[in-house]
C-alpha cells in the first residue's frame, strides 16, 4: 500500500498582516509553515503506515523553498518526498494546481490513497483535493474525521457534516480530505530529523512530467482575481429592551422603515 499526502507551504497565519494601502498580504518576513490542515493528513498517513505497513510519500507544488515543508513531513515519519516546481506552474488557480498535482501523482506511480488537508489556510477554497480526485478519476471523501476500517481494499470512514457525521465505504484507490478532529499531529522525532536532513527530494518539472502546457500556471487558470479587500467590519446590532409586545412593534417598525423601503 502506498499513500501520497499532498501538502502546501503557506504563510504562518498566526503572523498575517495586511498592507492597508494595497489590501494585500504582507509576505516579507513572514515565516512559511506547512498548511495546518495538511499536518493532520501527514499524521494520518504515518499512523496508517504504523498500522498497516504502508509506504508513504509527500508531494507539494511550489517554489524551490517549499522543500523545507517536505523535509518537515519526513521528520514526522513520511518516507519519500516529491517537489513539483517549475516556472510554468506560477500563478496556478485551483484548477491548474489540481491538474498539475494529479499528473505529478501519475508520474510518482502506484498509490492506494491520496490524503489532503480539508483546505489551505491561505486560500481557504477546499477545491484542490476534490480537483485532484476528479483529474485522477478516483472516488473522494471530503471532511473525513475518522478512518474506521480498511478491509478487502474497502475503506470505511466517518465524514463530518454540519449536522453530525456520515459513515461511508469507499473502494481503494481513493482520495480523502481530512479535518482536524481526525488526530493530533506529532512533533518530529530525532531520527526523523536526521533522515530529513539527508533525504533525497525528487524534483518534478515540465521536463520530467507529462503535462499539457496550456493547462498550467496562469494560462491554465480561468479564475480571475478582480479585487482583494478586507471586508468592512459589521456594526453591532440594536437591542430592543422592552416588554415583548413593544419589542415586536419596534422591530416591525424598524423593518418597515429600514429594510422595506
Amino acid at each position: 500500500m502506498r499513500i501520497i499526502v499532498c501538502i502546501k507551504q503557506v504563510p504562518d497565519t498566526a503572523d498575517v498582516r495586511i498592507n492597508p494601502e494595497t489590501n494585500t498580504l504582507v509576505r516579507e518576513g513572514v515565516k512559511s509553515i506547512i498548511n495546518p490542515f495538511d499536518m493532520y493528513a501527514i499524521e494520518e498517513a504515518v499512523r496508517l503506515k504504523e498500522k498497516f505497513g504502508a509506504r508513504t510519500a509527500v508531494l507539494t507544488m511550489g517554489p524551490p523553498q517549499a522543500e523545507a515543508a517536505l523535509r518537515e513531513a519526513i521528520s514526522m515519519g513520511i518516507d519519500e518526498a516529491y517537489l513539483a516546481s517549475d516556472r510554468a506552474f506560477a500563478g496556478s488557480d485551483t484548477l491548474a494546481t489540481s491538474y498539475t498535482l494529479a499528473k505529478a501523482i501519475r508520474k510518482i506511480g502506484d498509490f492506494s490513497m491520496i490524503l489532503c488537508g480539508k483546505q489551505a489556510s491561505d486560500g481557504d477554497t477546499a477545491q484542490v483535493g476534490p480537483g485532484i480526485s476528479t483529474h485522477l478519476d478516483i472516488p473522494q471523501v471530503t471532511y473525513v474525521k475518522k478512518i474506521e476500517e480498511l478491509k478487502d481494499n474497502v475503506l470505511r470512514v466517518e465524514r463530518m457534516t454540519e449536522e453530525g457525521f456520515e459513515i461511508l465505504e469507499c473502494p481503494l484507490p481513493c482520495l480523502l480530505t481530512v479535518v482536524k478532529e481526525i488526530n493530533e499531529p506529532r512533533l518530529a522525532s530525532l531520527k526523523g530529523l536526521m533522515r530529513a536532513k539527508s533525504a533525497k527530494i525528487e524534483l518534478l518539472t515540465t521536463q520530467t512530467t507529462d503535462l499539457e502546457l496550456d493547462r498550467l500556471g496562469l494560462k491554465g487558470s480561468p479564475t480571475q482575481v478582480v479585487k482583494i479587500f478586507s471586508p468592512e467590519r459589521r456594526k453591532g446590532g440594536e437591542i430592543f429592551n422592552a416588554p415583548a409586545q413593544d419589542c415586536v412593534d419596534k422591530l416591525a417598525d424598524y423593518i418597515h422603515k429600514n429594510l422595506l423601503t
Binding site: R186, L187, A188, S189, L190, K191, G192, L193, M194
Partner: protein
C-alpha cells in the same frame, strides 16, 4: 546567548526539546502539579521524539550521544516543568548503572525498550534509615542456589510504580559493610516485589515518588550488575554520571524562572512604568542571568569532560550539581520576589519554579554531601602532590 559550539545533532536535540517544552509540557504543567497524576501522555510524546535514546549507544537502539545530550534535553524540558522532566531524567538514572556495569547480554535485554521509551527505569538506593549514609542499607539479598532472595523496603524512589525496570541496591553480606552491597536489576511484576506509599510532595509533583517493598522476592543471579559486593561502586559511579543531569534539571528550572520573571518585569506597570525600567529590578535580573550562565558553563564543561572518557569525575560532577542547584534555589526565590504578590499565588508560574527547585539541593546526594565529595577529592589531589 553564549555560544557553546554545540554539534548539529546537539542543536537538533535542544531545538526539539524546546518545542516539546513549549507545545506539550508548558500548557499542562500546572494541571499535573495540582493533580499529581503521572504524565504518561507527555512521556509518550518524549518517547515518540526518540529522546529516551539520546545517550544510549546505537547498537542498543539509541542515538549514541553522551552525558552532554542528556543534559541538553533535561535542561530544555525542565524550563517548562522540572517535575514532568524528572520522569525522563530518572529513567536515565535507572539505566545508567546498566550502561556502566551491565554485560552485553544485560544491555541487549534492557536497553532497547528503555531507549525507545517503551519502558521507564528507576534506581533504588534510599531507605528510611539510609539517606546520606548509604552504608546503613537494611534491604538484604540472601543467596539461595541460583537465586538471591530480597527482603526490605526502599523509599523516595522516583518513577516508583510507573517504571518497569529497577536497579536495586541490597546487602548480600552485612558484615562487610559498604563492600557487602550488591546491585540487582528487577522487573516490575516479579513475585514478592510490590509498591507502597506514594509521597505527597512540595514540588516536582508530576513525578512519582514511591516505596518499593520486597518480600521473599527471588531474583536470578544473572540479574546482578557487576559482581557481588560491587553495589556501592555501582552507586557512586552512577551518581558521578547522573549528577550533571540533576544539575541540568536545576539549570532548566532556573532558566525558566528567569525568563518568566524578565517577561513579567516588562509587563508589570507600577509608578506608570514597567518595573523592568527600575534599576533595583534590573540588577536582580542581571545577577540571576549571570548565575544561570555560570551554572550552564560548569555543567557543559563537566558533561564534555565525562564524555571525553576521563575516569575521575566525582569532584566536577559534584560541583556542577552543587552549584546549579544552589543557583536554582536563589534564582527562583528572586523570581518570586520580582513577581511580588503574584509570585506567591498559584495562578502565576513563579511559585512552582521555587517549589520544584528545592529538591535539586537535596536528592542524588544533599548539597552537604556534595561538599564532602569535593573537599575529599581536593585534599586527596593535594596530598598526592
Amino acid at each position: 546567548m553564549m555560544d557553546y559550539l554545540l554539534t548539529e545533532q546537539q542543536l537538533m536535540i535542544r531545538d526539539l526539546c524546546r518545542q516539546i517544552a513549549k507545545e506539550k509540557i508548558a500548557p499542562v504543567a500546572a494541571e499535573y502539579d495540582k493533580t499529581e497524576e503521572f504524565p504518561w501522555p507527555i512521556v509518550h510524546a518524549i518517547a515518540q521524539a526518540d529522546l529516551f535514546g539520546v545517550s544510549i549507544p546505537e547498537e542498543y537502539g539509541g542515538l549514541g550521544g553522551g552525558i552532554m545530550e542528556t543534559c541538553l534535553a533535561t535542561e530544555e524540558l525542565s524550563k517548562a516543568c522540572g517535575g514532568i522532566t524528572l520522569c525522563f531524567a530518572a529513567s536515565y538514572l535507572g539505566l545508567d548503572p546498566i550502561l556502566l556495569f551491565g554485560t552485553d547480554e544485560q544491555k541487549k535485554k534492557y536497553l532497547p525498550d528503555l531507549a525507545s521509551g517503551k519502558k521507564l527505569a528507576a534506581f533504588a538506593v534510599t531507605e528510611p534509615a539510609a539517606g546520606s549514609d548509604a552504608s546503613a542499607i537494611q534491604t538484604t539479598a540472601k543467596k539461595k542456589g541460583d537465586h538471591y532472595v530480597l527482603n526490605g523496603l526502599k523509599h523516595f524512589i522516583t518513577n516508583g510504580g510507573e517504571a518497569e525496570t529497577y536497579v536495586v541496591i541490597a546487602m548480600t553480606d552485612k558484615s562487610k559493610g559498604a563492600r557487602g552491597a550488591t546491585a540487582f536489576v528487577l522487573e516490575k511484576g516479579t513475585k514478592g516485589f510490590t509498591f507502597g506509599k506514594k509521597e505527597d510532595k512540595l514540588g516536582i509533583r508530576a513525578s512519582s515518588t514511591r516505596e518499593l517493598i520486597f518480600t521473599d522476592c527471588e531474583v536470578p543471579k544473572e540479574n546482578i550488575l557487576g559482581r557481588e559486593g560491587m553495589g556501592f561502586i555501582v552507586t557512586m559511579k552512577t551518581f558521578d554520571v547522573s549528577r550533571p543531569g540533576v544539575a541540568s534539571q536545576a539549570l532548566g528550572i532556573a532558566a525558566g524562572a528567569l525568563e518568566a520573571a524578565t517577561k513579567y518585569a516588562r509587563e508589570r506597570i507600577q509608578f506608570e512604568k514597567p518595573i523592568s525600567s527600575f534599576q533595583g529590578i534590573q540588577w536582580m535580573l542581571a545577577d540571576m542571568a549571570t548565575q544561570v550562565e555560570a551554572a550552564r558553563a560548569l555543567i557543559y564543561a563537566t558533561a564534555r569532560m565525562i564524555d571525553s572518557g576521563v575516569k575521575s569525575v566525582s569532584k566536577e560532577s559534584a560541583m556542577a550539581k552543587l552549584f546549579a542547584s544552589d543557583v536554582a534555589m536563589k534564582v527562583t526565590t528572586d523570581a518570586v520576589q520580582i513577581f511580588g504578590g503574584y509570585g506567591y499565588i498559584k495562578e502565576y508560574p513563579a511559585e512552582k519554579y521555587m517549589r520544584d527547585a528545592k529538591i535539586t539541593q537535596i536528592y542524588e546526594g544533599t548539597n552537604q554531601i556534595q561538599r564532602n565529595i569535593i573537599a575529599l577529592e581536593l585534599i586527596r589531589e593535594i596530598a598526592k602532590g
